[in-house]
């Protein structure tokens, strides 16, 4: 039994595969028409794909019938178009007619029909690729461009108008990723612009009938664009080069004229300059040396010819404070040598102009520097003249302290103030200068503030007279200690005449001067004479013996000189102590002027530095009454 079962099983297992194999042969699977295409609208081809063949060799056949007829035709040509295809020739092709096509798969066991497909040849046209695609590089004024030209596929009859094709091309750089597509319409040529210089381009073309499918892309055509510089870029390069060139030239020119350009753009600020004034020395704190250089040895002019001098009046400044370091500025530190312009009423001399005449800040240093004066030219002329005059005059005072310098201070210096009690005779404290040395002031009479001690070369120097015309000069000298400086001011000649008190001295042999306590280094100045032009010729008393006009100060030891007063024209009226008779003459003069003499209160010391116009009115002091002093402080002339 068991053996029989095994045997049956064995036989069955052997037979079954054979049987099964026989059973695998089935009717073929259903074929399927994949596509039908016509390249020229005159013929067309249909392709199908086979289903399972069922294990048996299967044959395929294609049948069709046209739209309005029932006649079924079989495919005329199975081989031309390859396997599983059917080719319809021109004779079998009708356009505008629907074909109903069916494929039948047949094998030994049966057959199978595919689904029917309706085909109208007109709508299945897919031409071949365009042919003879040529790409050329042409030159244009803007640069090179590509010209692509092609021909329609040979099979498509576009010439007779049977098929109308439209074309499309695409371009890209070889290394680029995306194509750039262009529609070319029905034309067979196309231009591509804006190329990358030196790049390699790929071009492809395809076509399509107005009612069909796109053809395949043609094979790529390569083209190399030659190197060129785009027009815009070349223009910019030219502009850049030109600009650089111009820039270089400008830079070179500026470099050559560096200094003048700098001068033009940043004009130098004019600083105060005093000739011979050394700022470095000043900073080092040696005022003496500084001022030494400014001293004009030959000042005051010592010419014996005093005619040239035209000193109208004296102005005395008292320098009460010790100022060793004048502030380095021009006027205040320097002697206020100012030439008054014709129209200028303002002295502008800072503290030099204070009415107290206590010009503490009136530097004794009189600089010839032009900058410190309003009319430097005049002064210089004057100074020069002074110098000249001075040199010529042997009697000229030498200021021991001053080197050669300009004499700023008139020897007549007295203190306008005040310290004195009312009872005291106000002696002008002409203490001067000896102490302070030439650094500040150069006094023509270093120690003697005699008006006579300084002799002014009284002759008019033609130069400065010419230059001045109506000139007035005014000198202020300061002493570091309280010194009073006389200001001799040459005023308007017309005025001077009347005001000039000192002129009286002329007659006298003795010039009134300010006596200075001999203990102090005071200078006596002797007014030598007053010339016709109302110039006071002073001469230092100490240095010389007796000049032609010796003005003695009276007793030795008496340092003061009396100032009678200041007349209207701000002229100090000096009083000669000894000779009252002359004082009377003074008075006469004064009366002549019609001014009353008054005494001005002495000014406080503290106000010596006061700026501002000096009291214009210099009233005359009483004639003779006192032997005292008149404060010249209020008698400062105003300008």
């Amino acid at each position: 039994m068991m053996w029989r079962d095994v045997g049956v099983t064995l036989i069955l297992s052997l037979i079954l595969p054979v049987v099964a194999q026989g059973a695998r042969h089935t009717p073929p699977g259903k074929p399927k028409l994949t596509s039908c295409r016509s390249p020229d609208k005159e013929t067309f081809t249909c392709w199908w794909e086979a289903g399972s063949d069922g294990g048996r060799p299967t044959t395929y056949s294609l049948f069709y019938h046209k739209e309005n007829s029932e006649t079924v035709y079989e495919c005329p040509d199975y081989h031309t178009a390859g396997a599983n295809s059917c080719f319809f020739s021109k004779n079998e092709t009708s356009i505008w007619v629907n074909y109903n096509i069916t494929v039948v798969a047949t094998n030994a066991l049966g057959n199978n029909f595919s689904d029917p497909v309706d085909v109208d040849v007109v709508y299945i046209v897919q031409p071949h690729t365009p042919e003879n695609v040529t790409v050329g590089v042409l030159e244009d004024e803007d640069g090179p461009f590509l010209r692509v030209s092609w021909e329609p596929p040979s099979k498509a009859d576009t010439r007779s108008g049977w098929i109308t094709l439209i074309y499309e091309l695409r371009v890209k750089l070889e290394e680029a990723e995306e194509w750039e597509e262009h529609r070319a319409g029905q034309q067979k040529m196309f231009n591509i612009f804006s190329l990358h210089s030196g790049g390699v381009y790929m071009v492809q073309v395809r076509c399509k009938p107005d009612h069909g499918f796109w053809s395949e892309w043609s094979t790529a055509s390569y083209v190399i664009v030659p190197d060129y510089i785009p027009r815009e870029r070349s223009m910019w390069i030219l502009i850049a080069v030109f600009s650089a060139f111009i820039f270089l030239i400008l830079t070179w020119i500026i470099t050559l004229n560096r200094s003048s350009v700098k001068h033009c753009l940043l004009p130098p600020v004019p600083g105060p300059k005093i000739k011979g004034f050394d700022q470095q020395l000043l900073k080092k704190g040696k005022p003496e040396e500084v001022f030494n250089s400014l001293v004009v040895q030959s000042f005051p002019p010592r010419s014996t010819d005093y005619e040239d001098l035209l000193v109208e009046y004296l102005e005395v400044y008292v320098n009460e404070k010790q100022e060793l370091m004048p502030e380095g500025k021009d006027l205040q530190d320097v002697g206020c040598l100012k030439s008054k312009s014709q129209s200028d009423n303002d002295s502008g001399r800072g503290s030099c102009d204070s009415h107290t005449l206590l010009m503490e800040k009136c530097g004794g240093v009189e600089s010839k520097d032009e900058s410190s004066y309003e009319e430097p030219e005049l002064l210089q002329g004057q100074a020069g003249s002074w110098e000249r005059l001075e040199r010529g005059d042997s009697q000229v005072v030498d200021t021991p302290d001053s080197s050669d310098g300009r004499v700023k201070t008139w020897p007549l210096v007295f203190s306008p103030s005040i310290h004195g009690s009312s009872d005291n005779h106000h002696y002008g404290t002409l203490e001067m200068p000896k102490q302070h040395s030439t650094s500040e002031i150069t006094y023509s009479v270093p120690d003697h503030l005699f008006p006579t001690s300084t002799s002014f070369p009284h002759h008019h120097h033609p130069e400065y007279r010419d230059s001045l015309g109506e000139y007035s000069e005014y000198r202020c000298s300061r002493s570091p200690s309280t010194g009073v400086a006389y200001h001799w001011e040459a005023r308007h000649p017309t005025q001077a005449h009347s005001n000039f008190n000192i002129r009286n001295l002329e007659r006298q042999k003795e010039a009134t001067g300010l006596g200075l306590p001999p203990s102090r280094s005071m200078e006596y100045v002797e007014v030598q004479k007053v010339n016709q032009e109302n110039q006071l010729v002073l001469k230092p008393l100490s240095s010389h013996g007796r000049g032609p006009f010796q003005v003695q100060f009276g007793r030795a030891g008496v340092d003061y000189s009396k100032v009678n007063g200041v007349n209207n024209d701000n002229v100090l009226l000096l009083q000669r102590q000894r000779e009252m008779a002359e004082a009377g003459q003074y008075c006469n003069y004064r009366e002549k002027e019609g001014a009353e003499a008054e005494r001005y209160p002495t000014q406080q010391q503290g106000k010596t530095t006061k700026d501002g116009p000096v009291a214009t009115q210099l009233q005359e002091s009483t004639c003779l009454t006192t032997s005292g002093y008149v404060d010249t402080a209020p008698t400062m002339p105003t300008f």
């Binding site: 005159e42 309005n68 049977w162």
Partner: protein, 230 residues
């Protein structure tokens, strides 16, 4: 002297000059003869071909629109359903290039004219049916309207062309009539949809026919030999 002569001749013969300048006589709808501006045959043919091209393009777009909107997917792709084939014409239309090449110019032109005239009414009908559709897109309606109008002008052009080329003055333009709708079915029913779809497809095909005929005709006008060589 010569100038005087020519002036005198011109004055005497001015009616002839006028008539010479107007070789064609155009008839309007009432049948009166009006003077038309002359145009050369080539230019006229070019314009006619342009018309035909445009008509075909627009009809193709309309068909696609309609198909997307209304035709269910299985029934697409230009299949002629049973019963809804294109109407056959009075005379056989050539079906291949070789056949067409055997036809004379005259027949080509006449074929075109017949085709054009046969579609004037159906297009009008199609317009009315499309208006009844609820959600017919505006572009579709505009296109169909435009096509029907252009078809009329195409017909006129072909008539003139026939007259010029064939010296056949016998044809008259067809009148437009508000035809009776042959099929008064409910719109948007599948049948009517399919019918309308068939109508559009057939019109599209015939438009292509017209275009092809005219282009072939043009080739013949320019270079007869090369046209047949291919």
């Amino acid at each position: 002297m010569h100038i005087m002569q020519s002036v005198v001749w011109a004055v005497l013969l001015w009616p002839c000059l006028v008539s010479l300048g107007v070789p064609l006589e155009c008839k309007d709808e009432q049948g009166s003869i009006i003077l038309c501006a002359s145009i050369s045959k080539e230019k006229l043919l070019d314009r006619v071909i342009q018309h035909a091209e445009l008509i075909y393009r627009v009809s193709e777009e309309s068909c696609t629109l309609f198909e997307e909107m209304f035709v269910p997917f299985p029934m697409r792709s230009q299949r002629n359903q049973a019963g809804y084939t294109c109407a056959t014409k009075a005379f056989p239309i050539p079906g291949s290039k070789s056949e067409i090449q055997q036809i004379s110019d005259k027949w080509l032109l006449h074929s075109v004219l017949i085709l054009v005239q046969s579609w004037i009414e159906p297009l009008v009908y199609l317009q009315t049916t499309l208006d009844r559709y609820d959600d017919a897109p505006d572009t579709l309606l505009k296109k169909t309207k435009w096509v029907s109008e252009k078809l009329l002008s195409l017909e006129q052009g072909v008539v003139v062309l026939i007259r010029k080329m064939l010296d056949d003055d016998m044809l008259t333009t067809s009148y437009y009539e508000q035809g009776v709708a042959p099929y008064a079915l409910q719109p948007e029913v599948l049948e009517s949809v399919l019918r309308d779809y068939t109508l559009l497809s057939c019109f599209k095909k015939d438009a292509h026919k017209m275009e092809t005929f005219l282009k072939l005709l043009k080739c013949r006008q320019t270079d007869k030999y090369s046209c047949f060589l291919h």
